[in-house]
Structures are given as structure tokens and as C-alpha cells.
């Protein structure tokens, strides 16, 4: 049993349905993620991963139950809760017409940083993510890998305590993937809780220490990766995934 003060995320008895899509997506869902953990949430298409992440970030509002981030209730629509989280969506959710510096300046301001903090963090992040020499170039000219790094930089500019990553390395080359994963490990060492979702399970094996599998709106298992593989007598996360969620096609409408 983990004390509430040690939890980064605590979801209890969560209920949710989309207004224009009758049936419940979640009903009585519970999930606990410890502070400083590298947590992986995996499931087939349509399992409810993105919806769950949207509820955690306050993009969607739950019908029932509670979601707390470091003890703060997400449902109270307190904008201060948003300072605790960084969100790196799967899409390039920023302004392609702007340069990395201009994007970071804007998103830094919206994240609550002042001018000096933005400048310091911008220089730091562009150096770490290898974007210094293109800092003033328009992002729409960038390769997919460079765009991914800009996407990540925006998500972490305010040093969030919890970083939520939705497929942060999709479509990038090996070098970029390696750099991103290394950077995420660095962040985690400094205390950032990582909540990660991806379909690239071999990559996830190297990153995540705690894993939850979700299917049709239910957490079907959650434990450390080592324990899960041992318990289900599987060699890899991918085998475990197929074993627990089946091999049939999932059509996510």
C-alpha cells in the first residue's frame, strides 16, 4: 500500500463517457502512479489510453470519481494544477510558421515562466536536444525528428513534475529516438515522473519500470515490468501484450 503523499497520480473510481457516444468508456477505473516513476500505459487502438491521458491533463472532465496529481484535484479546474504537468502530444502541436525559439517563447509564457526563465530554459533545451543551429529557422522546414524534439522541448520548458508523453518517438530515426529516450531518462533522474504511452513496445521495455495494460476501458494488469514478465511467463513486453489483449484486429472508430 502506497501513501497518498508518495503518489504522482491517483485515479479512483473513474467514470467517463463521450456525450455523443452513448456507452461508458471507463467505469470504476483505478490507477496509482508513484512519484518519480517511469510509467508505461499500453493497450491496443481504442483501448482508452488517449482518453485517460486527456482526463489526467484536464482536457476532458470525468463523469465521476477523482483524479489527483500530486494531491491536487484535476476536476476543480484549477489552472495551477496545469503547472505540475507537461504534455507532449503525438501531433506536432505547435506553430509550424514559427522558429523553435519563437515557439518556446510563446509556450513558455503560457506555462507561467517570465522572460528571463524562458530565455534560460530555451538555451538549455535547444542545446540538449541539438537544435541550437536551427533555433531561428521556421519549424515547417524541419525533418520529422527535429519536429519531435521541438514538440518535446515545448512540453518540458517549465520543468513539470509530471511529464505525459503520447507516442513521443513515432516516425523518428534511430538517432533521434536514442536522444529523446536518453533525455527522458535524465529528466526522470532529476525527479520528473514520466507517464508514457506508445505502440513501440521494445522501446518501452528500455524506458518503463512500471507498466499497466489497458483494454476496453479497464486496467487489465499493472506491476513492474520484471514482475509482469515473470508472472505471465513471457519473454518480452510485446509477447505479454499479445497474450493479454489477443491477436485480433482492433478497429478504432
Amino acid at each position: 500500500m502506497v501513501a497518498d503523499s508518495e503518489l504522482a497520480v491517483n485515479i479512483e473510481d473513474l467514470g467517463f463517457h463521450y456525450p455523443d457516444n452513448g456507452g461508458a468508456i471507463f467505469s470504476g477505473l483505478n490507477l496509482k502512479i508513484k512519484k518519480g516513476e517511469r510509467f508505461g500505459l499500453f493497450g491496443p487502438n481504442g483501448a482508452g489510453k488517449t482518453t485517460l491521458l486527456s482526463l489526467m491533463t484536464g482536457l476532458l472532465s470525468a463523469d465521476s470519481g477523482t483524479i489527483t496529481l500530486l494531491g491536487n484535484d484535476v476536476r476543480k479546474k484549477n489552472k495551477d494544477v496545469n503547472k505540475l504537468i507537461g504534455f507532449v502530444p503525438q501531433d506536432f502541436s505547435y506553430y509550424q510558421e514559427l522558429s523553435p525559439v519563437e515557439n518556446l517563447e510563446f509556450f513558455g509564457a503560457w506555462s507561467g515562466l517570465n522572460k528571463q526563465q524562458i530565455k534560460t530554459r530555451t538555451d538549455e533545451l535547444l542545446h540538449i536536444l541539438g537544435l541550437e543551429n536551427v533555433r531561428n529557422k521556421q519549424v515547417d522546414k524541419f525533418s520529422g525528428g527535429m519536429k519531435r524534439r521541438v514538440n518535446l522541448a515545448i512540453g518540458v520548458i517549465h520543468n513539470p513534475a509530471i511529464l505525459i508523453l503520447d507516442e513521443p518517438t513515432v516516425g523518428v530515426d534511430v538517432q533521434t529516438r536514442h536522444a529523446i529516450i536518453n533525455y527522458l531518462m535524465e529528466l526522470n533522474k532529476k525527479g520528473t515522473t514520466l507517464i508514457y504511452t506508445s505502440h513501440q513496445l521494445s522501446e518501452a521495455e528500455g524506458l518503463c519500470e512500471e507498466v499497466a495494460l489497458i483494454d476496453v476501458g479497464k486496467i487489465i494488469t499493472q506491476d513492474s515490468l520484471t514482475n509482469l514478465l515473470k508472472e505471465h511467463q513471457q519473454d518480452s513486453l510485446e509477447d505479454l501484450f499479445l497474450n493479454l489483449t489477443g491477436k485480433e484486429y482492433r478497429n478504432d472508430l
Binding site: L60, K83, D91, Y94, Y95, F106, W110
Partner: protein, 427 residues
């Protein structure tokens, strides 16, 4: 809060400056439009008042009335008359119109003088009986004067055709009246009507003084620039939809809106920034187009624009018109699912709003039901407010009656935008 707003305005300005197509649609296209439309309207004015319209006249009549009619047509001042041989048939007349690039042709029938004289005799007899100077007798019905035939090129607009027809009827009236006067005078006095008296009786019409009714007492007659520049400035302002609507859609589709929602800043900052940035753009559009009207038009041989005396009022009207245009663009952007939808719906809806708002056809010329519909177009209220300042010489207080509905429409658009953002879970 101020820092966040400033950062957002900077972002919006940068996005706008890098949208070359949007910028050209907002500035170059309306400028071209205002120059072309003013030039066309001014050209129509010149055609009627200065250059005169070419008209071919085929006079099949051999009598005096046909010649008098041609002289009367010449005297109207609208037409430059070219004579055609009297034996030409309809096809030859039409061909001659093409050759001489005349848009009009009039054929005077061969019995014109005879019929005019017969009618004058008939009217004169009736008058004599009425005066008691002649015994009543059964009058032989003489029939109407044979009609003139007016050939016209279909490119002539109905309005202009009615003016031409009015001019011809006025000329006919002079010819018929002259003949009646002469006949009647002869019947009474048994001598011809003296030429001087005839001229006085037919020509001494009361003059018409034209006075433009203005609130500031100015007697300056409005020109084509005064009508067109405000109208097409409004059109240009609403064209911000091509850049702003698309920008809102891009932010939605890229997921930027979603990301902003996860950040500790109220989304109202984003909406406020867009409004400040793009209202400024609409004010710049107005300044550029007005400057073109004042200094550029005279260089192009067009009448110059006269700026209203209440410049502060003009600024306030421009800001409110711009705010309405920006609110409309954001509203369309929020509901459109794609850039194509935003641009397509935006462009077509603006043309429709301009048409029903009186930018293309004056709203006073619309029928009652369409006038009621015009009230729903924000462009109608923008135009009324601008006309109040530009044409009627009014002040801000004089155009408040138009600004209040405009502000109400703007607030409704803002409310719809808010509900749309809520419904789409973007705020």
C-alpha cells in the same frame, strides 16, 4: 497576465506576417477591387454626363416632326446622335450598331409627322370645344402617335435603359406639345404661333437645384470615391477571414489549442490576442485604402476621397467594424473542420453578407423583405455608419444608431464562438 498577452500577440503577429497569401488577400485584393469598382462607376458617370452615349437615329419620317425630335434628342445632352439612311431595315440597323460601337439606336416611323399633326389637331379641337369657341361635333378617332423603336445592346443595365427611355420620352413630349400649341394657337388666332412665344412656352422650365442633405451643412456633392471606398473597405475588413479563419482552423487541427488547454493560462488570453492583433490589421487596411482614396485616386484620374470632419468618430467606427469582422472570422474558424471549409464558407458568406448588406446594390433599392434581411448583415450596419460620416457629414453621435446593432451582432458572434469552443471541448 500582460506578459502572456504580449507573448501571444507577438506569436499571432509572426504567424500573420508569414502568411503571405492571407496578407495579399487582405490588402492587395481589396485595393484592386476598390480601384476597379470606383473606376467603373466613375466611368458610367462620365459616359452619361461627359462623354455622351452614341445613338444611331434612322429617321424614316420625311416631315418636320421627325427633324424636331432629333433636335430635341440632341438637346437632352445625354446622347451623341449619328444619322442613318432612312431606308435601313432592322438587320442593317443592328449591324450598324456593331460597326459604330453604338449601344442604342432609335427608329422614327415614316408617318410620325402625320400622326403627330393629327393628334395635335384632335387635341386642339377638343380644347376649342371646351373653351366654347367651336361647336361640338363627332371627332374622328385619329389614334396614338406611332411608337418609336429603341434598339439597345443588352449590356446596358436596366437602370441606364430607363434613363435613356425617360430622355426619349421627354424629347417626344416636346415635339407633341409644340405641335399641339401651334395648332391650338392657329385655331384661336388664325395666325401662326410667334417663334419667341413658342420658345418661351416650351423652354422656360423651372430649374432644379440639387442640394445634398448633410448633417454638417456641406454642399459638396458625393462622388464615386465617397460611395465606393467605405463600402469596399468594409469588404476588405471582412476578408480577414481568409487569414484569421484559416489560422484558427490550423491551431485546432494541429492540436495547438489542445496543448494550450493543458497550460496554466486562461484561453481568453488567446482570443483577446487574436482580436487585438486582427482589429489592428483591419484598422491598417482602412488607413491604407483611405490613403489610396485621398492621394492615389486623383493620380489615377479618379475623384479623390474626402475624409469626414469627425476623424475620431471615423476611427471608432473603423475599430467597431473591424472588431465585428474579426469576431465573424474567429466564429467561422471555430466551427470549420478544415482550412478549405473555412476559406470556402468564409469567402462565399462574405459575398452574400455584402450583397444583402447593400455593398453591391444600395439597400434603399431593395424590396421590403430584403431590407429586413439586410438588417441581419453586419456589413449593412458598417456601411450605414460609414455613410453617416462620409456622405452625410455626421459625427460619431449621429451614427450611434448604427453602431449599437453592430456591437450587438458582434457580441452574439462572440457568444456563439464561446459556445462552439465549449462544445468542441477546446476551452
Amino acid at each position: 497576465m500582460i506578459f502572456k498577452l504580449w507573448a501571444t500577440i507577438k506569436k499571432d503577429c509572426r504567424v500573420l506576417i508569414r502568411d503571405g497569401i492571407g496578407l495579399s488577400l487582405m490588402f492587395i485584393m481589396p485595393i484592386v477591387l476598390v480601384v476597379v469598382v470606383t473606376d467603373i462607376q466613375n466611368g458610367t458617370f462620365q459616359l452619361i454626363n461627359k462623354n455622351k452615349m452614341a445613338v444611331l437615329v434612322c429617321n424614316r419620317d420625311t416631315g418636320e416632326s421627325g427633324k424636331q425630335l432629333i433636335a430635341a434628342i440632341n438637346k437632352i445632352g445625354l446622347f451623341k446622335v449619328y444619322d442613318l439612311p432612312k431606308n435601313q431595315d432592322a438587320k442593317t440597323i443592328v449591324d450598324s450598331m456593331k460597326d459604330k460601337e453604338a449601344l442604342l439606336s432609335v427608329t422614327i416611323p415614316e408617318d410620325f409627322t402625320r400622326k403627330v399633326k393629327a393628334k395635335a389637331k384632335s387635341v386642339s379641337n377638343k380644347a376649342m370645344v371646351s373653351f366654347g369657341l367651336q361647336a361640338d361635333s363627332v371627332q374622328k378617332y385619329v389614334g396614338d402617335v406611332s411608337p418609336l423603336t429603341l434598339y439597345y445592346n443588352p449590356v446596358i443595365q436596366e437602370q441606364l435603359r430607363f434613363s435613356v427611355k425617360g430622355g426619349l420620352q421627354s424629347a417626344l413630349q416636346i415635339v407633341e406639345s409644340r405641335e399641339t400649341l401651334r395648332t391650338l394657337y392657329f385655331a384661336i388666332n388664325e395666325k401662326p404661333l410667334p417663334e419667341k412665344l413658342e420658345r418661351e412656352m416650351l423652354s422656360n422650365k423651372a430649374a432644379i437645384n440639387e442640394i445634398p442633405v448633410s448633417k454638417n451643412g456641406s454642399l459638396r456633392a458625393p462622388n464615386a470615391a465617397q460611395h465606393n471606398v467605405p463600402a469596399w473597405t468594409i469588404f476588405a475588413m471582412f476578408f480577414v477571414i481568409m487569414s484569421l479563419g484559416g489560422s484558427v482552423v490550423r491551431e485546432k487541427v494541429s492540436g495547438s489549442f489542445v496543448r494550450l488547454k493543458t497550460l496554466p493560462t486562461n484561453f481568453a488570453v488567446g482570443l483577446l490576442s487574436k482580436q487585438i492583433t486582427y482589429v489592428t490589421v483591419t484598422v491598417i487596411q482602412a488607413v491604407v485604402i483611405f490613403a489610396l482614396g485621398i492621394w492615389g485616386f486623383p493620380l489615377m484620374g479618379l475623384p479623390g476621397l474626402n475624409i469626414p470632419l469627425d476623424v475620431f468618430g471615423l476611427l471608432i467606427v473603423t475599430i467597431i467594424c473591424g472588431w465585428c469582422a474579426v469576431s465573424y472570422a474567429i466564429c467561422v474558424g471555430v466551427f470549420a473542420e478544415s482550412h478549405q471549409q473555412s476559406n470556402g464558407f468564409g469567402a462565399i458568406s462574405i459575398v452574400i453578407l455584402a450583397a444583402i448588406g447593400g455593398l453591391m446594390v444600395p439597400s434603399f433599392a431593395m424590396d421590403t423583405s430584403l431590407k429586413a434581411v439586410a438588417n441581419l448583415s453586419p456589413m449593412h450596419w458598417c456601411l450605414q455608419a460609414y455613410y453617416g460620416l462620409f456622405l452625410e457629414g455626421g459625427k460619431l453621435t449621429d451614427v450611434m444608431q448604427y453602431l449599437i446593432p453592430l456591437v450587438l451582432i458582434t457580441l452574439v458572434l462572440q457568444l456563439i464562438t464561446f459556445l462552439g469552443l465549449k462544445r468542441k471541448n477546446l476551452i
